[in-house]
Symmetry: C2
């Protein structure tokens, strides 16, 4: 399918997100595809997407994609659960390039893991309202029961680093009680911020519940897809191999993003450029 | 000063905010200026402003103002503390129309209230970093000690209606401990969302601390200013008086705003129009 397209295998992989959360996907990608160039765009000037309408999330996602295409990427990962849930299906056929979101990889991993056929999904209001995870899970196995729950305070708690606090455990217990009541054995962290609260969520849900990090799964699916489509950068098989170049773009000033990215990625990130995304 | 301007006294008053918070100002305005027409714009598609950079808050505020001018308003209230703190001084001379923010009214009320000359200010990161309240308070009385604190989780807690919860009290006690330690007798609620948490903040701070609601104060200052400048709508002195017309505009779909506005204003709000603010 890519033969008909003018895709350059040396081109970078594009990753975009409503803000910093997608760095959890990027980190995984850097790990398993170290020789690929990656362009990351974080829409920090308009974050978060999760409480906004389908309409505006589609508009923002189209602008994010326009920027990705300008960067001449060979493949795009939409790392934002809200955008993946409500915009991806609507817009993906408008582009002459492959793009994947975080929903299918997370859903597929959950279907493999569940033993009692009861899967929980936690995410933003947009993700939960879209029912995107449930639709994909039911395509694979209509007998699986899917329970979805919006946990809107998890994003600000994670962003503010308000993690190992008693109040955060209380809010998590409050939100997750219904998930415990319906006895899911697998819980999809359907928002890229939630892995930052993984420890809290795991303690509240208990050891017997498997947590699925959609971001991790997505990076693995991207690797397989690039390999299947012969889109891996040939530099990866040459020795000495050159480490991939990573470029970061954001829609507000880079300082705050730089701090968070450095913390997320475990090393200094300074090649961050500001973009006026409203012009796209 | 308004004689040289082409200001129409029958024109509406403009109120804009980063989202729904400014409705606390609008509600007060409807109360004390029932015969004035009011145009409200809430930038719900890009809310919140408080964690963003000065740069982008200025850009958003300029777009909000461009929309206000298109509505041919006679006077503008910037109801957002973050925009008032970081953008107002920078841009207000660019417009041939009077505009006030929420900082000066809140600061003036606090100066009047304090007995021990120790005032606290709580707000978003942008408001606190700008030091706007302290600057104005010190212009009036340099001997007053001002203590400022960002409480970023208060906005999502208020927006999610997560108010009378134990976790919210814990977070408030956590944040406000430093305010108690420095023994302020007056605390400015320097964010239009915070009045929704007034009960919680009041219980944590204790009866002896006066809470200042900048929104309420701002509506009163607007009334005085319009009267001083002979800008009150003559309809207000005619009988039978016609109730002012209220028009609402938002930068995302109106449904969610409509619910919140109806709750805030105590009656159904349905004349809400969507605006693509990125075009301004």
């Amino acid at each position: 399918m890519n033969e008909s397209r003018n895709v350059v295998v040396e081109a970078p992989i594009g990753v975009f997100d409503s803000g910093v959360g997608g760095l959890t996907v990027a980190r995984e990608l850097f790990e398993i595809l170290p020789y690929e160039d990656v362009v990351y765009f974080g829409d920090v000037g308009r974050t978060p997407y999760g409480g906004r309408s389908k309409d505006i999330i589609i508009q923002f996602t189209q602008q994010d994609m326009a920027f990705m295409l300008e960067q001449k990427v060979k493949f795009v990962i939409c790392a934002c659960n809200s955008a993946s849930s409500v915009a991806l299906e609507e817009i993906k056929n408008d582009y002459d390039i492959d793009m994947i979101g975080v929903i299918e990889p997370g859903a597929a991993a959950a279907v493999k893991k569940t033993r009692n056929n009861r899967i929980g999904v936690i995410g933003t209001q947009a993700t939960v309202s879209s029912n995107a995870y449930a639709k994909i899970i039911h395509d694979v196995n209509p007998d699986i029961k899917v329970f979805s729950l919006a946990c809107p305070l998890f994003v600000p708690l994670a962003e503010e680093g308000y993690v190992e606090k008693k109040a955060t455990y209380m809010i998590a217990r409050d939100y997750l009680k219904t998930m415990q009541d319906v006895e899911v054995d697998t819980l999809i962290l359907g928002c890229t911020h939630y892995p930052l609260l993984k420890h809290v969520i795991s303690i509240v849900m208990g050891d017997e519940v498997t947590l699925i990090d959609s971001g991790e799964e997505t990076a693995r699916v991207a690797l397989r897809k690039l390999a299947d489509d012969n889109l891996l950068n040939p530099a990866s098989s040459q020795r000495p191999a050159r480490e991939g170049e990573r470029r970061f773009y954001v829609s507000d000033v880079p300082e705050k993003f730089s701090q968070v990215a450095t913390r997320f990625l475990g090393k200094p990130v300074d090649n961050i450029t500001r973009v006026d995304i409203s012009k796209y």
